[in-house]
């Protein structure tokens, strides 16, 4: 059913259609509306026996769904940013134990400085935790990905994080096609756990594993991610058959066939990128784009294939590996290893900074001339940076020793550092 609806609400309705049995969450912007809506749905009784647990922290939220999932319940939570870091230990734990939990991540920057706006630093921080990370471009895709996520998680016994950009998607009112219960039920069978806590068939979950088997345990987790590379496309095509629309592509190309330059990105920014490409192509620029539908598993082969005709690649990403550069870019380079295709990194949209098409246009043109800083911090205010760097340089200078000492003990003026 088509609805003009807030992204969060749409996702909440999609989650409800998946018939979760235990939901536990803790408020944090921009994810909050989803769990608020779900609490209403549960409280109204629309989800039967579903338990909605108001916990005291994200750590507890994740822990609670760990317990629920281990006891054979379909379990869901959602968080953002600081919340994800607060539950970090449990995030790793859920995947380590192979619990098919689904979590929505309303992507948001990580402090300090505290910032409630969108970027991808949070999901990137957990990229290697063993969770599958799917990224939605639109709210329609967010809705669809959640339905796919439960199926995927339960089929592989692996937790799935559905990432949607905070505010840009979570708070946006868009037209969304909410599927019917019947459709979802057809797609998503009842949860049948591979292992669960059951007095009739006791088992020990969460053993301590030493060097003699730890590598194997990790390899098997890695193997699950590789399996997901095959399962996700299968589910996407099954989804398309049942729901009549495409969702869940791992690699979604746009005008890549004849493009010398291909832009790679994750999530909602792909819309702006496509708009910019349209403008550039009108200008006869040979440019296209690829949207990554999943960051984990990372579709190395599929991406390599999609980028095989490109002479250069630009990665636009909303995160930064401080001291290195682009995180997504590094992964893309991995896909292109052995080729000489240059990969340029554009760090954009940090802490909610708007990413205007104009800025992208400019940066893409620079890249197409192979004359671009790498990484390029899009729309970085150089004036501010220069001033601040200058000031820092100033204050570090020690100056005449005697005068400094007198200043320190308060006889001459006062130490600016003591302010």
């Amino acid at each position: 059913m088509l609805k003009q609806i807030e992204g969060s609400k749409a996702v909440a309705e999609a989650i409800a259609l998946c018939r979760p049995e235990v939901i536990s969450a803790y408020p944090i912007t921009p994810q909050t509306h989803i769990v608020e809506d779900l609490s209403q749905i549960v409280k109204k009784g629309a989800l039967g026996n579903c338990q909605y647990i108001n916990v005291e922290s994200e750590f507890a939220a994740m822990s609670c769904v760990i317990g629920a999932s281990a006891t054979g319940a379909r379990a869901y939570t959602a968080t953002s940013s600081q919340g994800l870091l607060f539950m970090a230990e449990a995030v790793y734990n859920a995947s380590g134990m192979g619990l098919p939990i689904v979590m929505t991540l309303g992507n948001r920057a990580i402090g300090a400085p505290i910032n409630i706006w969108n970027d991808h630093s949070d999901s990137m921080s957990m990229a290697n935790s063993g969770w599958i990370q799917l990224h939605a471009e639109t709210n329609q895709e967010a809705v669809d990905l959640h339905i796919i996520a439960f199926r995927l998680a339960e089929q592989l016994s692996v937790p799935v994080m559905v990432c949607m950009d905070g505010f840009i998607l979570t708070h946006a009112y868009e037209r969304v096609d909410i599927p019917t219960q019947e459709q979802v039920d057809n797609f998503l069978p009842k949860f049948e756990p591979v292992q669960m806590l059951d007095p009739d068939e006791p088992l020990t979950m969460g053993a301590m594993v030493g060097p003699e088997a730890f590598t194997e345990v990790r390899y098997l987790s890695h193997h699950k991610q590789l399996q997901a590379l095959e399962v996700i496309p299968q589910l996407a095509s099954e989804f398309e058959k049942q729901f009549g629309r495409k969702s869940g592509a791992m690699v979604d190309p746009y005008h890549t066939i004849d493009a010398d330059t291909v832009v790679v990105s994750l999530g909602s920014i792909n819309g702006t990128i496509k708009d910019t490409i349209d403008i550039l192509r009108e200008d006869r620029c040979s440019i296209g784009s690829v949207k990554l539908g999943a960051f984990r598993p990372f579709p190395l082969a599929e991406l390599r294939e999609a980028l095989s005709g490109a002479r250069r690649v630009i990665v636009v990403e909303k995160d930064v590996a401080l001291g290195l550069g682009g995180i997504v870019a590094s992964n893309v380079r991995m896909a292109l290893r052995g080729t000489s295709t240059p990969v340029y990194t554009i760090i954009a949209g940090l802490g909610g900074r708007p990413i205007p098409s104009k800025s992208l246009d400019k940066a893409f043109r620079q890249a197409m001339d192979d004359d671009i800083e790498d990484p390029l911090f899009l729309d970085l205010n150089h004036e501010v940076i220069d001033r601040e760097l200058a000031r820092m340089k100033e204050q570090r200078r020690s100056g005449p020793v005697a005068e400094n000492i007198l200043r320190e003990i308060g006889l001459v003026g006062h130490s600016p550092r003591k302010v």
Partner: protein, 333 residues
Amino acid sequence: MQQRVKYYQTGTFTVGNRLLDEEKRTVQATKERNNSLTCGHRACQGCGEALGARFAIDAAMNAVNNKLIAVNATGCLEVFSTPYPESSWRIPWIHSLFGNAPAVATGVAAALRARGETKTRVIAQGGDGGTVDIGFGCLSGMFERNDDVLYICYDNEAYMNTGVQRSSRTPPGARTATTPPVGEHPGNSYNQGKNPALIAMAHNIPYVATASVADLHDLEDKVEKAMSISGARYVHIHVPCPLGWGAKPSNTIRLARLAIETGLFPLFEAEDGEIVDTTPIRKQQPVDEYLKLQRRFAHILKDPLALETIQAMADRNISRFNLVREMEVTNNG
């Protein structure tokens, strides 16, 4: 508390007693006990925690018709019972993290409720560190929500699994790896301590109790009672650790007993936030009888001020919980 059977030579103090009515013997006395934590585990010789865990879980299993799921925090109990490839548990059991056992248990209970499995009950358990320190936020949350979980803390008064570091349950003066017996006030600081049972009571949860491996009947009664109640419950069990306390493995029960008899570990029970019963001391002992059997206190035995302070703590417990009083005796002899 009543000394229930005065008629028998050992009353109700031993594990069993062939003279006692079957139903008055402990679960541990029965051949049919579950041995929920069974042999082959890697706890140290004489480990009080291993003992306490079997006591408590067997009693709970007995009380709920073997329909039980346990969630375990990281710590000695978890490590010695489940190192790959061997598990010593005979119940459905899960270990997640050091500080989240109460929340995991909440999730387990929620799942059971969601699936309409009303018969299966949930226990969460951990050491004093996992409970009183790192897991305290989750514990308090679980209490406040009154989730249907019995939380059992095995208090051995330090972080044993990581090599005996101080926890907030480490007693004043005690030596640990992080409270060395050097300097002006050797050993752990003489602060006010932290009493999780009293804090649990402040949540007005239906049931809170302290228990000890040295008083099995009392322990089993309390666990059994806890299992007869729904909502959040807390049982805090004192479990001496020979390794961490520097004591002979054969002294585990004796130490736990002395902790009771000195007043240092008061046994009490509370319902809905009010103390309803305390277990009187049978034969009161001075604190040095307890301290002198433990190397962690060796440096304070000759420090009269330290001994006085610890005796004062014991005395305060005795008066606060009315621990020295006439036992009611039913005369059926």
